[in-house]
């Protein structure tokens, strides 16, 4: 693409975003409130049903009720993390002017402290998307997800790490909020690093106490079943989050970049990198809400702070722009995107050849 074409692309995308922002209004406000209320009902309802399973054991209904309650709680946590927490912390709903639904104040139901997440995700990952050595999401320091990363012995066991990471995903994300890279560069002081540790510790403790001490304690003698139900809900959420998030940047066809290649990039080039580095997943309304609209990863990377419910509506126009400028628009089913991701992780564990960046 020529510089003029890049400028045209940037202008078209800027106009598209401005058009959507002008159109934001009551329908959007109603949407986010409805999702929040639904999520609260699912969570409290799920916990209530889990509690109810214990007296119902007397008539032999223990298993069906505790499974329904656990699934409801897991769904609540999924919706909270994906459609609410992730998107609200991106500032997608700051325009509402509601302090409670605002990136500055939202705290989410997961082990990662919101302040650390906003730094590691909104700033480091989104600004440096798919830049080798700068985007820490490219394998999260423990996985080789692209052949440009040189093989080392530890990667041989990465299918195993992948499974462990899927089960413990919230803890991986939480720990990952501590930015050792910035400390190594000297941009984060020693006290800053211990400040990040303190944030990590505080949030982790709160989550542990809430799900594994306080709620089980409310059930009195049935402490253990409630604890296990909460654990199961957290693990279901972890595996789902892992699957959706790994489909964002690791399926076949995704591109990565070197820091040298992006030095001094223009706005249009920045947009192009965001498109080439992201993958969409096709799905219906329920999938969109439970994935936080991350099936529209491309639109999300172009406009991280645009309310997610608007992504499906702009997607055809983004795709048309991609066709006009001959930029690949990577989209597929969850099975295709997750399947190729898993294949890549397994293959790169055993093949040692390093590829250089295409760009």
């Amino acid at each position: 693409m020529t510089a003029t074409e890049h400028d045209q692309l940037a202008r078209s995308l800027d106009d598209l975003a401005a058009e959507v922002r002008r159109a934001l209004g009551d329908a959007d406000r109603r949407y986010i409130r409805r999702v929040i209320i639904t999520q609260r009902i699912l969570e409290l309802g799920g916990r209530a049903v889990i509690f109810a399973s214990l007296p119902l054991a007397a008539i032999g209904w223990f298993w069906p009720t505790i499974v329904i309650g656990t699934l409801s709680l897991a769904l609540a946590k999924i919706v909270e993390n994906m459609e609410l927490g992730h998107n609200i912390m991106h500032g997608q709903w700051d325009w509402l002017g509601d302090r409670r639904i605002h990136s500055a104040t939202w705290e989410w139901d997961t082990a990662c402290a919101s302040e650390l997440w906003k730094q590691s995700h909104n700033i480091v990952h989104h600004a440096w998307a798919n830049v080798v050595g700068r985007d820490r999401d490219l394998g999260y320091d423990i996985l080789r997800v692209n052949a440009v990363q040189p093989w080392r012995f530890g990667f041989a066991f990465q299918p195993l790490y992948g499974i462990v990471l899927a089960l413990l995903f919230e803890w991986g994300v939480a720990f990952y909020g501590i930015d050792f890279d910035a400390a190594k560069r000297g941009d984060l002081s020693g006290r800053g690093l211990s400040g990040q540790f303190a944030l990590f510790r505080r949030k982790a403790l709160r989550q542990l106490v809430k799900d594994y001490v306080l709620w089980p304690a409310l059930a009195g003698p049935w402490f253990a079943p409630v604890l296990l139900a909460n654990l199961a809900a957290n693990v279901i959420r972890n595996v789902w989050g892992f699957a959706v998030i790994f489909c964002g940047h690791f399926p076949d066809g995704v591109e990565v970049f070197t820091p040298g290649a992006i030095a001094g990039e223009s706005r249009g080039q920045w947009y192009e990198r965001q498109i080439r580095g992201a993958c969409n997943i096709n799905g219906g309304r329920l999938f969109r809400i439970t994935s936080g609209h991350l099936g529209h990863q491309i639109e999300h990377h172009l406009f991280p702070d645009l309310p997610s419910r608007r992504y499906p509506e702009i997607a055809p126009r983004v795709r048309a722009l991609c066709e006009r400028y001959d930029i690949p628009y990577n989209t597929g089913s969850l099975v295709r995107q997750f399947g190729t991701t898993v294949r890549t992780i397994v293959r790169l564990a055993v093949t040692h050849r390093t590829r250089s960046c295409a760009s």
Partner: protein
């Protein structure tokens, strides 16, 4: 005895209220918390930087935001000058050594009250955005936090910075700006000293200093006259949307209040719901107790449908509503 008893209760209330804090339920508007004055350092003969550490960990500020500081019943709003990414729990404000003497009358180690960082003068773009910063005098404190944040992220956007100050002796953060310019090719500062150069900073002058000023997004922090001149230059090219102006929130902007409401609800109701004590009487547009001056935004008279958008117009809060939802309406008594 009471202190011993209340502490665990407050902790329980915090656990129950999570993820909110108990005060949200009490509808209290006092968000101030104690902070320790850690250190004071001189910037130049007229300015000093205060390092503050809130006693309880709190959310980070965004660079460019203001914070309210209370010392022994006196308070003021100050731009936060430390960067966003420090995570060491400290924040800095840079203040006038004469006017703001009340702030550091107490020695380091003493306690002040800090409000929540506020204001939407923040740098949001992630995509490369050619940027112009225009600052006048001490108001450079509103952008220095942004520049420091870019530096710690090792990612400086394309920033042209025009700073106007009285004299060389008054230049604030001069060495730091020079060091940033040396480290990042994309940061280009120009300083105008009023002792040497008294030409007004209008669009001709801007054109000489920054050739492509008109295509840049602007972050502007300076005295009212400078704000007016720059705002006029951008209004002339119909690019007001790209202009961000640093204004301390709340009362220090001359007692104005900023409201956001929907087009069907009278601003009086919106103001009361937001907790402002607004004078009112009949609430049907007769007694004129609630007349205020419009400073910013477009409002509609709910009786006649007539639109008013010129700053300085007198409007009746009980019978006017914003023309658009989610737009700021600023009014002054």
């Amino acid at each position: 005895m009471i202190c011993v008893g209340i502490r665990p209760l407050a902790d329980i209330a915090r656990w129950i209220a999570r993820p909110f804090v108990p005060s949200h339920y009490l509808l209290s508007r006092d968000d101030r918390e104690p902070a320790e004055l850690l250190a004071i350092r001189d910037e130049n003969v007229r300015t000093r930087t205060l390092v503050l550490r809130p006693r309880r960990p709190r959310r980070r500020h965004r660079a460019g935001q203001f914070v309210r500081v209370d010392v022994a019943g006196v308070h003021g709003w100050f731009a936060i000058t430390s960067g966003e990414d420090r995570f060491d729990g400290e924040l800095e404000i840079t203040v006038n050594a004469d006017h703001d003497r009340w702030l550091y009358a107490a020695p380091p180690g003493s306690t002040v009250l800090l409000g929540i960082p506020e204001g939407d003068f923040v740098y949001t773009p992630l995509a490369p955005t050619p940027t112009l910063m225009v600052t006048g005098g001490a108001a450079i404190t509103s952008v220095i936090g942004m520049l420091r944040t870019f530096a710690t992220r090792d990612a400086m956007p394309d920033v042209a910075h025009v700073h106007v100050c009285a004299s060389r002796a008054d230049a604030l953060f001069g060495d730091e700006l020079a060091a940033l310019a040396a480290r990042f090719a994309s940061y280009r500062p120009t300083t105008i000293y009023r002792t040497d150069d008294r030409r007004p900073l209008d669009h001709t002058r801007l054109g000489e200093l920054v050739g492509d000023w008109a295509s840049r997004a602007v972050w502007l922090a300076g005295p009212p006259r400078m704000q007016a001149a720059i705002a006029a230059a951008w209004a002339a090219i119909d690019r007001v949307a790209a202009l961000h102006i640093a204004r301390p929130p709340g009362e220090s902007a001359g007692g104005t209040i900023v409201l956001r409401g929907d087009p069907a609800t009278p601003l009086l109701d919106t103001a009361e719901a937001a907790g402002f004590a607004v004078r009112s009487g009949c609430r049907i547009g007769v007694c004129r107790s609630c007349v205020v001056t419009l400073r910013r935004g477009v409002v509609r008279d709910l009786r006649s449908g007539q639109l008013t958008g010129e700053p300085g117009a007198r409007i009746q809060l009980c019978v006017t509503a914003p023309r658009d939802a989610e737009c700021d309406i600023e009014v002054a008594p």
